[in-house]
């Protein structure tokens, strides 16, 4: 995944990719709707406003600082070759270097401009994922602070390693590991990063009040609007199709003739996942579960982000089926056995779904050594990024407390933080109605 090594884009490929990237925000809109629908009604306005605010902050911070660290603007004034150290006689590029405030964006090659737009959208996706997991107790100020940190440092570093000639992308050149770590649709760089950020948020903010009573099982706190959730899934499909196809052009340098297969694989993966989750929940609970089916669908899309441009259609269905089986079981395990209160299921959907997709891309890849390259990428996300994110968030929590005070949680985030509810003409459930 080295932009400098790619052939220049033809005008038609540029126009197509740009058009696709203009549709990709529908994936963000879909995830935002799902986040809102899976939270409580008394926090719905704060949830949706939080998604917007986090996207806005992430876009500005990434443009000002993050893009310089990513280093995907070669040849611009202020750009340097990046920073590398040498180990085992090989260069390990760990930090990009480019102009601040996207200086010179209009003068770089078309492919680099598209890459920056893709990264800008990817960082917007990253920041809204933990917001869904912290629903009903994460303060707006904490959300935008998390967004700023992710967009300024963590995402740009990872994006440099994977997409901008960094050490993960060079595993193939330096260590003969296939084509290096491949992540065409951002399964690792966007979704796993978002998912492990969600885990760190849940660890730090804790669970919602009354979720885990002193005795008995965890209290069920169902999402307040299944229509938002299902419609979010449909919106996400459109965005994901655009996202994966654009990623295949930009990062995998796929020819135009290979793009329909990427789109077909994306849909097949999501469809396989939904079919599997539908069946598992039907067998397990007697009736299919709407919110778990939505999670399964999304997990299939996330898994496809890693491998839709690399696998066959039959393999895509298998990848989706596996994601759809894992998702409902893991959501239940995390809640009941591990006491993780994750209202949107983001840890399972984005972190585990993304990791599965990255692994599958290695398993089904024809090149020798590709599986090891994917495993190294997974090890980096789990062993370097997760501890780093947790430590940074822990320090951030000292300055900007993540969790709202008990009174705010009791009256709902809408009234507490915004002074008004999302549904003023409807009766809102009291806390003890869940008992």
């Amino acid at each position: 995944m080295n932009l400098q090594a790619a052939l220049p884009l033809t005008d038609s490929a540029f126009a197509l990719t740009l058009a696709l990237l203009l549709l990709a925000p529908l994936a963000i809109a879909g995830v935002a709707l799902i986040n809102t629908g899976l939270g409580r009604s008394r926090s719905a306005a704060q949830a949706l406003l939080g998604n917007l605010a986090m996207v806005a902050v992430a876009a500005i911070v990434f443009a000002v600082v993050g893009a310089a660290i990513t280093g995907n603007l070669p040849g611009t004034p202020g750009a340097a070759a990046g920073h590398s150290f040498y180990a085992a006689g090989k260069p390990w590029s760990w930090l990009g270097a480019g102009p601040f405030l996207l200086g010179g964006l209009g003068s770089v090659p078309a492919l680099s401009q598209l890459a920056v737009l893709f990264e800008l959208l990817a960082v917007a996706m990253v920041v809204i994922i933990p917001w869904g997991s912290g629903a009903d107790r994460l303060r707006l100020s904490a959300g935008v602070s998390i967004s700023a940190v992710l967009a300024a440092v963590i995402f740009p570093l990872l994006a440099h390693w994977v997409w901008a000639g960094g050490w993960l992308s060079q595993l193939g050149v330096n260590f003969s590991l296939g084509a290096g770590f491949l992540d065409g649709g951002g399964a690792g760089t966007a979704h796993v990063l978002g998912g492990i950020s969600a885990l760190a948020v849940v660890w730090i903010a804790g669970s919602r009040r009354g979720k885990f009573p002193k005795e008995g099982l965890a209290t069920a706190m169902p999402g307040h609007n299944a229509v938002y959730v299902a419609f979010g899934c449909l919106l996400a499909l459109v965005g994901w199709l655009a996202w994966n196809v654009a990623g295949a052009v930009i990062w995998l340098h796929a020819p135009l003739a290979a793009l329909p297969v990427t789109a077909v694989n994306t849909l097949l993966s999501a469809s396989g996942a939904l079919a599997a989750t539908f069946t598992v929940t039907r067998v397990r609970f007697g009736k299919p579960d709407a919110s778990l089916c939505a999670n399964g669908w999304l997990a299939g899309l996330v898994a496809s982000s890693a491998c839709a441009g690399l696998v066959t259609s039959a393999e895509s269905i298998f990848i989706g089926l596996a994601a759809g089986i894992i998702t409902p079981l893991l959501v239940e395990l995390l809640e009941l056995a591990v006491s993780i209160d994750d209202p949107s299921g983001a840890i399972t959907v984005h972190a585990v779904g993304g990791l599965w997709g990255l692994l599958a891309a290695g398993v089904f890849a024809p090149q020798a050594g590709q599986l090891v390259a994917q495993l190294i990428g997974i090890a980096t996300l789990l062993g370097l990024v997760l501890p780093g994110v947790y430590l940074i968030f822990k320090v951030l929590d000292r300055f900007v407390p993540f969790r709202v005070d008990p009174d705010g949680e009791r009256i709902g985030m809408d009234l507490h933080e915004l002074g008004g509810g999302a549904y003023p003409e409807f009766v809102i459930h009291r806390d003890d109605s869940y008992r």
Binding site: L177, G206, K214, V372, L375, L382
Partner: protein, 60 residues
């Protein structure tokens, strides 16, 4: 305990990275990388366990 688990996960990462530096043959390289991932799994288990214990103490 959570920090210990995260530290073990970081150790697993360095184990995986050292595999590609130390070995050129695919089989020991893959085996070493898998060992690193297994260590990370252990670290994640410890961190999750620490979260469960903390939740158990603060249940209301």
């Amino acid at each position: 305990m959570k920090y210990a688990g995260l530290l073990v996960m970081a150790a697993g990462f360095f184990l995986s990275i050292s595999a590609i530096v130390l070995y050129t043959s695919p089989t020991p390289r893959a085996a070493f990388v898998l060992c690193g991932l297994a260590v990370q799994g252990l670290g994640l288990f410890v961190a999750m366990r620490a979260h469960m214990e903390a939740r158990g103490e603060s249940r209301s």
